[in-house]
Every structure is written in structure tokens, then in C-alpha cells.
Symmetry: C2
Subunit: 335 residues, 2 copies
Amino acid sequence: MTGKEIATRLGISMMTVSRALNGRPHVDKKTRDRVLAVARKLGYTPNHIARSLVLKKTNTIGVVVPEISHSFFPEVIRGIEDAVYAAAYHLILTHSAEDYSREQDAINTLESKRVDGLLISTAQTVTDHSTYIEAIRLGLPIVFFDRVVPNIGASCVSIDDEDCSAQITEHLLHHGYRQIAHLSGPPTVSIGKERLNGYQKALERNGLKVRSDLVAQSGFHEKGGYSAMEKLLRLPPRERPDAVVAVNDPAAFGAMKIIQEHRLRIPMDIAIVGMSDDVRAELMPTPLTTIHQPGYEIGKTAAQTLIAEIEGKSEPGRRIIVRTELVVRKSCGCL
Amino acid sequence: MTGKEIATRLGISMMTVSRALNGRPHVDKKTRDRVLAVARKLGYTPNHIARSLVLKKTNTIGVVVPEISHSFFPEVIRGIEDAVYAAAYHLILTHSAEDYSREQDAINTLESKRVDGLLISTAQTVTDHSTYIEAIRLGLPIVFFDRVVPNIGASCVSIDDEDCSAQITEHLLHHGYRQIAHLSGPPTVSIGKERLNGYQKALERNGLKVRSDLVAQSGFHEKGGYSAMEKLLRLPPRERPDAVVAVNDPAAFGAMKIIQEHRLRIPMDIAIVGMSDDVRAELMPTPLTTIHQPGYEIGKTAAQTLIAEIEGKSEPGRRIIVRTELVVRKSCGCL
DNA sequence: TTGTACGCGTTATCAA
DNA sequence: TTGATAACGCGTACAA
């Protein structure tokens, strides 16, 4: 079913059909009604592919996430979907599985599919930003979210990672902990670096030295948290941490597991805090103190920002910070 | 950057460029190398829109899920994404937010975008199947997953809901429970109906009558589970259930909450089981016995089935059952 | 109000 | 091995 068929069937021109179907002016009401009637009867479906080709606009945005199934990103995607739906856009979803070359693959195809813009949260293994820069140079708007790449001309939507990390570290300091360790994320990813910075600055602001033996790289997952914590527990008793700031909740879960296997008590022997407020955080044997990261809002804001840029209503290169909230539970020992 | 530009720049025809770029035969090796070199230098990106228009093939499938953020569907989507990526297809994601008209909207746009096939899990409020039937009639393959619509010519991938429900009900029966209640899903959705059937059949097979006062409609969410259970707890003590089969884990969580508010003990006073194996199930104060639903596998299988049908390698109308597993924890009282 | 010509970027077909 | 032509379905610009 094409517009042309409707046209010949009605003995009118394709143009009139097009105008009628799109609710454009300059078409007689009677003609319009006849067109709409025939269209409905014949089950006409407009062909967005053809339309996109001539208009050079797909009303589609491409999304690249590093991971689909861990509670935070689904929330973000829901926020994106809501914003995108409200603006009558659509969403091609790809995931990089934390793999750089797969991410590049995704970006290339998304470009081939002529999406109007890109929403990206970078993979852990990303080191080179040339793909992003090239896309931007060619006029394809990009908005980064959560794991962002600032200062290359793209807008970024995230929480203030450094500040969050400093805030939760200071929460521990104010409650008397002095040997505070950090389970750090991959240093290649923005949030890994910034959360480490926040942790260090909080210590320094409070007159403590940063001890490098108290920083263990865990990555973002439970397994990494487990083994990084294992390393810290091997320190001589007097040098062991009395509290731990994990780069995110899953890493904290892994750490909590091995702490318990060592028959140490949380928070009495070791306090621990996370970041992200995973669904599981409040259900742990000792509920986890953490920072709530509003995934839905991050997604929605990122999508709205991107669409505004696509439509020329907003300039690229903005840095948008979404507000977070400290959620105090039992694992930090102050309740 | 278009193929035509490469052609004029090299003084050859567009067709030769096309052949070279797509690795087709009948093009001189030297010519091919020159084309590829220029393409790279100029940053040429093939235009899938134009290609799709002439080929009548987008290599894209549309996915409609009722809900994005609740642990099961993200798993499914990850499975879909993996299968789709492996077959060099892409994925347009939409969500219906359990709303029928929004689902129809999504299907219509997906048709307009000329996706090669549809992967659907129906919204709760769906009553009318004509949109699906019409799409199938027009030659657009559909595969339903999880919440399926059998017997309309589309393949369905799901667990055997009736059997699962019967199995977990019999697990309770074998352990001596006799007044078993059911928190049921919406009767309009396949899994709601079938799980109710399974529950009833299990009772009947074991010589028990189904008591309608022990069936309370909870829907799929925590809140519904809470209020449905509230109703059951208002029964006179002797008529109260000694065990509960919830239609899914979230409904069970809601029920557990009010059971505890009534200072009743799980499983001593009331045993309870769920279905779906939510991430939170094992972390509840009393870990929940449930049936593990392999979301990743459901998604992957559904996508593979759809792609096979798109490519004519498989016939529609198949009924694929994915294996499940009973996960026994403390809430059923047999540990 | 309506219609005509042309173009969007690509591929299939057939001829050279 | 190469190229010319037509076609995919629609919208813009202009003319009638």
C-alpha cells in the first residue's frame, strides 16, 4: 500500500494524497475525507523509510549502554524511553557489553541508520575518543550520560561523582572512622577517576593522608569487589581499614560477602558504604548505606537535552548535574 | 558523503562503487582498492535508509515490552540484543507501560519504520488481538514472548506457565499444606490465566476442591499482592490459608509484607511461594521459594526464532517452551 | 485547490 | 569487468 496507489484509485495526484495524509493545508475537505477513508480501508501505513530519505531526518535516536541488565541502566532506559516517546521520537538500543570495539561497531551502524543523535554511556575499555569527536564534527549530536566524556563538545548528564564520593567519605569521617579504604573503579572511566578523586580530597580536607595500600581496584562488579576486599583483608590487623568506600553497590556487595566469610561484623569491625542505590542495597543482611542515583531522571534529562539539540533549541557542550541523595542505612554504623 | 561523490571523484560509475563497497564480485581488484581508499579518506558512511528503501529490508526488529525496569525484562532484552547482534540485525525498543493504546501506537510506528519483524510481550490491558492479526496477515512476522497470544499464527516463546504453577503448588501439597490460596494475575493476560489453571489442576489432582474464597486477584505488582493478601487475612482463622501461591515474586513480596505486619511468621504460620526468581527473592528476611524463569534465554530464543522466520528458515506458529527450575528456599517451610 | 517534475542514496537488471 | 537506466515511496518547489 503506497500513497501512489491511493492516488490512482481516486484519480488524483500523489501530492494531494500526501497533503491529506499529513494534515497539511491546501486540500479540499471532501478530498481529504475521501483520501483518509481509502487509506483506512486499504490499511495504508506511511513509509517512514522513504520519508526519512527525502527529509534527512529519522526521528530516531541511538542509545549505547555498556550493560543492560544491572538495575541502574534499565531505569535510565525507562527515562529515555519516556522522554523520547513524549517527543515522538524512537529509540534504537545497542549495548557494548563493556567492549570498545563493539561500541564502535554500534556507533557506526547507528550512523548508517542515520539516527538524529546519539546517547552514550561509555564502555569500560574505551581509551580513544576519536570516534566520538569525528561524529560530532560531522554534525551528529551526542549527549553522554552517567559515564561521560567532558570537553569534547558534547553535552554530559551525570551526577557529580567527585562530590558524591567526597560526601559519603566525609560521612564516615564525621562518625570517627580514620582508616578508610576505597574500592576503586576502572581508571579509564570517568566515574572511576572522579570517585577516587572525591575520596582522596575528602581525606585531605580532613587532614588525613591518602594511603595507597588502602586503595584497591575492584571494577564495577561483585566479583571484583570480592577480590579487591580480599586483598585489603590481608593487610596486618593494625593497618586494616575500619571503613570502606566502594565505587558502587555491586562492588560493595562483593566486599560484604568476603567480610562475612572472614567472620567480621559489619559495621562493628568494618563499616562499608556503596554508591548507586541498587534495589538489593536495603535487603542485604546489613542494609547498605549508599548514594541514591536517580537513573530515571538521568535518562530523561539526557534524552530531552539531546532532542533539544537536534531541534536547535539548545547548544551542545552543556554539563548537567543531576541531584543525588545520601541514603543512610546500617552498614555505616551511625544508625 | 555519498557513493555518487566517490564515483565522480574517481571518474567511474556509481554501480562499481556500490559493488566495491559491498564486497561483491565483478570488480577489478585495483578499482576496489581505490574505492575503499577514497571511501575511508572521505569518511563515507553507507546510508542504510536508502538501501532499506530499495531492498525493502531494514535488518531491524521492533520490540514491545510492557515494562522496562523490573528485573525480568532487562534480562530478556539482553538476550534479545545478543541474538540480534549476532545476526547483524538491530533493535528498536518501545515500551507500552502496560497500556493497550500505547502498545498499538508502538506497533503502528514500528510498521511505519518497516521493521522486518516484531517481538511482543503483551500489555495487561490488551483485550483485542486484531492489531496483531492484521500485522501477521500483511506479512509482518511476530513472535510473542513471556506474555503470549497463542493460536493466531504467531510463534510463542514462554515457560509452561500452567505446569510451573501446578508444580510449585504440588510442592506445597507434598509438604502437607491443605488450605492453599492463590494470588492471581490479571485474567486478561495469558500467564495470569494459565497460572491460575495450574494451581487449580494441582489441587484437583490431589483430591482437593478449589475454594473461590482462597483466590484473590493481585495483579503483577507488590501493591496488589499486599492488598490481595490483606483480603485473605480477613477470613475467619479456621478458613485462612496455610500456604500461598503468588502469581509472581513481586506479588509475593507485597503479601510477605502484610503477613509480617500481622505478626504472623513465614513459613510457620503461612508458607508462601512466588514465581520468576526476582533478584530480591533470596534476600528477603525469609528467602522466597520460587520458580526460576530464564529471562535471558527466553529473549535469545524469541529473537532467534523471529530472525529465522524473517529469513524463511522457519515456519511461524511454533510454540516454544523454555525450561524452568524450582528454587527451594525457606519461605515454603521444607528446608 | 491541485498537479508536475525532480531528487533523496542506493541496488537490480540488463546491455556493452 | 563496467555502466546506464529504472525503481524504491515520499516531499519540495513551482507551475497551473
